[in-house]
Amino acid sequence: MQAFTTLTGLVAPLDRVNVDTDQIIPKQFLKTIKRTGLREGLFYDWRKRKDGSQDPDFFLNQPRYKHASILLTRDNFGCGSSREHAPWALLDQGFRSVIAPSFADIFYNNCFQNGILPVVLKADEVQALFKGASKEGCQLTVDLAAQTVTAPDGTKYRFDIDPFRKDCLYRGLDAIGLSLQHALAIAAYEKRRLSDAPWLFTDLAR
């Protein structure tokens, strides 16, 4: 996984609440068996007008946001389906950080698995960032070590993050590798449970 330290980049505003993963990447793009190439599916239905042509008003169709790497949005972003295709598609488009007042649980987790930093700020702070983001070329700096987002005027917004998650993302650690370091503890756990609750271990034979 790609480590996340500091990111300075263009911000793209998506002013909607409850953006669900069906919207982030519709089902027809879930038939893939790969993690890459999902950019064309990102916000697919919203990018087009009813007649199928590209909607020039949709934010990601505007040249000014083409190279945006920070997505700014509203409450409950990423709700709905657990599809990891959602962060894969965001990553494929170039987003490395998403800022919102709240995220759905599974999406939030999925971001960390893919080197994307989801940042939770207070609603009024997000509102202030939205104001600034209307200016063309607005850039933010997201600093994971300091746990801050810096606006163009120098205002710093602090965010919380679990220390363990922070460390894994900052160093780009392989989560499975980390867990495998506890292989002995896992085996000991299984041994104990097997004697206490053997019905949990009636494994399926193929």
């Binding site: 089902k27 363990f164 949990l200 494994d203």
Partner: protein, 467 residues
Amino acid sequence: MAAQTLFEKIWDAHIVHTEPDGTTLLYVDRQLVHEVTSPQAFESLKLAGRKPRRPGATLAVPDHNVPTTDRKLGIADPVSAKQIQTLEENCRDFGITIFGMNDARQGIVHVIGPEQGFTLPGMTIVCGDSHTSTHGAFGALAFGIGTSEVEHVLATQCLIQTRPRTMEIRVDGKLSDHCSAKDVILAIIGRIGTAGGTGYVIEYTGSVIRGLTMEGRMTLCNMSIEAGARAGMVAPDEKTAAYIKGRPMAPAGDLFDRAVKAWRDLPTDPGAKYDLTIELNAEQIAPQVTWGTSPGMVTGVDGKVPDPKAMSDEKSRKAAERALEYMGLTPNTPMTQINIDKVFIGSCTNSRIEDLRLAASFAKGKKVAQSVHAMVVPGSGLVKHQAEQEGLDKIFRDAGFEWREAGCSMCLAMNADVLQPGERCASTSNRNFEGRQGAGGRTHLVSPIMAVAAAVEGHFVDIRHWK
């Protein structure tokens, strides 16, 4: 020992290791796998040269992408076919049990787990699918995960987790006739909102929940994710044990008796504290219908489409305006005056045998309106078989419903079952998001009997007064 909640007991029993900040390596007893969210997990596992730690703890089934028409014809879409074939190959390569597309036991992953006795109280159960919360009906801690985590569980039988908070939702009183678990959960989401449960595991308690059948409890827990919760659960009781007994993958004989004894210790101790408690009075719950593009945009069938202008909060107003535009609805329209084009009875929320029995009892002797296309998609091959044994298929067919093969079907419309732009559907599924059932499609979530009545009348009706 201090009084503990059901959740706390299960959580504590599954801790393998704790980091200084409280992050937990949690043991996972069982995993369910389907074709859509697993290929990349298996691929990475292969690339890293890793093997599943306990292949026998995992059960796989294709469900999202399978056709619900005659399976002998195969899958017309080569991309879907490839995904299903990939699942079969991965299961073969890694020694994982799979119910293939033509297996009589194939079905929606959250229907077959309980049906097979794979889902047991006190377990931790995961699946790369948000509606894994369904299995919480058995007093299991069950939640959806992403593909990287699917791989993590395959490789380690564990997950790295932060401890959620606990919420009790107590529903007391008496549910009115023809109101079901579906109406209860929609009313709950209407009350707490689609992010109301974020960061929490919900335990449903109260006389109404105790009175629900196992299948009703599954419907309830299924939509916990629509309230934003990581999981939903109901304490196991004698109903739970009776449901599990004798199922193919359930423990048998002495082992079953021992398990039942242990399950009796699982319910929340008297005096245990939840971080938050919410109470609902069942008497106030009318049959529910959603009007918008999020499950929290819901009202009683005796209500009206809301007027965004009357909403004081700007965010809600904007969201409601947008939703009504998408749904093609006018403020203040009575819900019973909304005409529909399609009806879908199915999905992991409402496709079990009791759902079909009840729906059939209302469809009996009736005819689907000329203007409506209606279909019934059983949750599994075994549910379908059982329904056919009982003659339910004939009742549905005679009434003008299509009777399909088992699968997710038009719940997410990944296969050929899709709404056309602008089409309006009464659906027993769980999500009314924009485009969920097809780009431009308009979904109203309802219970199975509300769906039947809507199919017959061509518009929503208050099932409490329907003859």
